[in-house]
């Protein structure tokens, strides 16, 4: 086991080279609906129990199934209303189980990125070749069902190995060259995109996805009220929008249809979306577009600045 994942270098949040988003925008805003499939009777994993109760674990399973049966369309209508294309964090088995949902997202030209096969199959305990096979299956499934070359990855249930990002980048290259496998949502160390160090040296970015703004963290872990969540979204936006004048920032709202689309929660969410998209200097976009824009325009200057800053007083000890 390593003390530090080694994926990124220290990069203080001051005097960074200025990022300006397209059309002079100060903040890149993206919404990442997780569209997931949880299994009723998943296989055991020695490191993590899928459900707290013996199977059938109805509380967890049925609430997530609600997200697909009821919640998805509610959130989709809201994103349509505010001109937001979702960046789908996809349990790719959902292409087989619920192709109707995939079609609705395709019609809207939403982005699909990989969130593994099922959210009840964890990376923990996989050999490198097993993890590679799982990632390859997920990218191939997205391509088969949507024609998209998967650019981004969020490990299933945020379960990782030491090589998760390397493997994703490598499989992307193997299947589609530089057109796939170039950004990660798995790291929460920054409010701006950052270069990621990979063993094959590929140009690869971490795009802020925000655990703090994640509805499941807010509702299941922090257990806050819907109105409080709406307020926190707006507070988060206000600060990042202001700081974006100095150098472009990113705000992401990661959502789950089984949380945010509930009848008692969707109003607060809508108020936040209306507020955020009502500002002039917001680039309403997708994860992939942000990553591509960063790699094309700012990746090299970011690397130079990271090197310069780490030389000033010395690198990480």
């Amino acid at each position: 086991m390593k003390e530090d994942p080694g994926y990124y270098d220290y990069w203080p949040y001051e005097n960074r080279p200025k990022i300006t988003w397209p059309n002079g925008a100060k903040l890149a805003f993206w919404v990442a609906p997780n569209i997931e499939f949880y299994e009723l009777d998943p296989p055991d994993n020695p490191f993590r129990k899928p459900w707290p109760q013996p199977s059938p674990a109805l509380p967890g399973y049925t609430s997530r199934d609600w997200g697909n049966r009821v919640g998805h369309v509610r959130q989709m209508e809201l994103l349509d209303k505010y001109g937001i294309r979702g960046s789908i964090s996809l349990s790719t088995a959902l292409c087989d189980h619920h192709p109707e949902i995939i079609e609705l997202c395709k019609e809207r030209n939403w982005e699909f990125f990989s969130h593994g096969i099922y959210n009840t199959r964890y990376t923990y305990g996989m050999t490198e070749s097993q993890e590679r096979e799982m990632i390859k299956d997920s990218i191939a499934t997205i391509y088969k069902h949507t024609g998209q070359k998967c650019a981004g990855y969020l490990a299933p249930a945020l379960s990782h190995s030491e090589h998760t990002l390397d493997l994703f980048a490598e499989v992307g290259t193997e299947l589609f060259g530089d057109e796939a496998g170039f950004y990660s949502c798995d790291l929460f160390h920054d409010d701006q995109p950052t270069p990621i160090n990979l063993r094959n040296g590929k140009r690869f970015a971490s795009i802020p996805y925000s655990l703090e703004m994640n509805d499941t963290i807010a509702y299941l872990v922090q257990k806050i009220t819907p109105r409080r969540y709406g307020k926190e979204l707006m507070d988060n936006f206000d600060r990042l929008y202001a700081e974006g004048a100095e150098s472009g920032t990113i705000m992401c709202i990661p959502t789950h249809n089984y949380q945010v689309s509930n009848a008692h929660r969707i109003k607060a969410y809508e108020q936040a979306l209306e507020y955020i998209t009502g500002h002039p200097d917001v680039w309403v976009t997708t994860g992939k577009e942000i990553a591509q824009y960063f790699l094309d325009n700012y990746y090299d200057t970011a690397l130079e600045d990271i090197n310069a800053k780490n030389q000033r007083y010395g690198p990480i000890g």
């Binding site: 088995a93 189980h97 199959r121 969707i266």
Partner: protein
Amino acid sequence: MALLDKDYLNYPERSYGMDHDRYEWSMLQDRKAIAWPNGKKVAVWINVGLQYFPLNQKGIPFKVPGGMTKPYPDLRHYSLRDYGNRVGVYRFLKAFDRYGIIPTFAMNTRLAERLPYLVGTLKERQNEILCHGYHMDSLHYGGQDLKEEKALVQKSLDGLRELMGQEIKGWISPAKNESANTPDILANNGISYFCNWVNDDMPYNFKTKNGLLTAMPLPTELDDYFIINHNLHSAQDWAEQVEDAFGFLLKESATEGGRILGLNIHPWVLGQPHRIQYLERILDYLGNHDDIWTASASDILKAWKDNS
């Protein structure tokens, strides 16, 4: 050395629809719109959980949420739950009558055995009763012995039917928990609808080995215990969430057909002196709203069946 079996990357259920055969996969938006009687938009189903948490809790296979947590005898939790059946429930009844709301009661059979006065009161009211299992510590769970569970369902239903003098067609398991056999056993015991699966906002057909059940939507998300005791929100927060939910469902009903606001509430939670006003605020608001249909679970189910 591989820590996971190679089958960990096999996905036997990866095909169209669900990963089990209990119901058809369908999105709510694709289904026929439902019209409630008299042009009402939102059916309001107030479901009152009348629960008995025994002091000698066994916790098999887990401690029921809301149950005893301290070493025996856990008097604080026992008596605070019991408060609901002595005090809170009578506050509830007054409030329902004052605001013209028709409640449905989900009762543990053991509670009915213990409290003839409450049984007599409920019988006089003639509200619908559904069975909430035997008591809160008699869980239905994966791996439960089939014979044991059959006997438990039968004891719960036979006992409650006899005491209440009602048919009893509805079921909610304690903690909404089940074994793989529970729906089959319920269908074999005269149950026609159950509320354990919180995966939809409208009723839907649920297959069992013994014919169809209807799954009725009673969301845990708006449950007073869930919001107040699990999420640790205030009773005012509960009321605001109910108001926001109702507002949204009403809006959705304008284009998508009738909706159901199912509120599962408990007299030991909302029946407290500092909380009852928020239940009254909701009942007052709903009771005076032109677009709501206050109805029992069975009446909602019947109306759904009649036009679905």
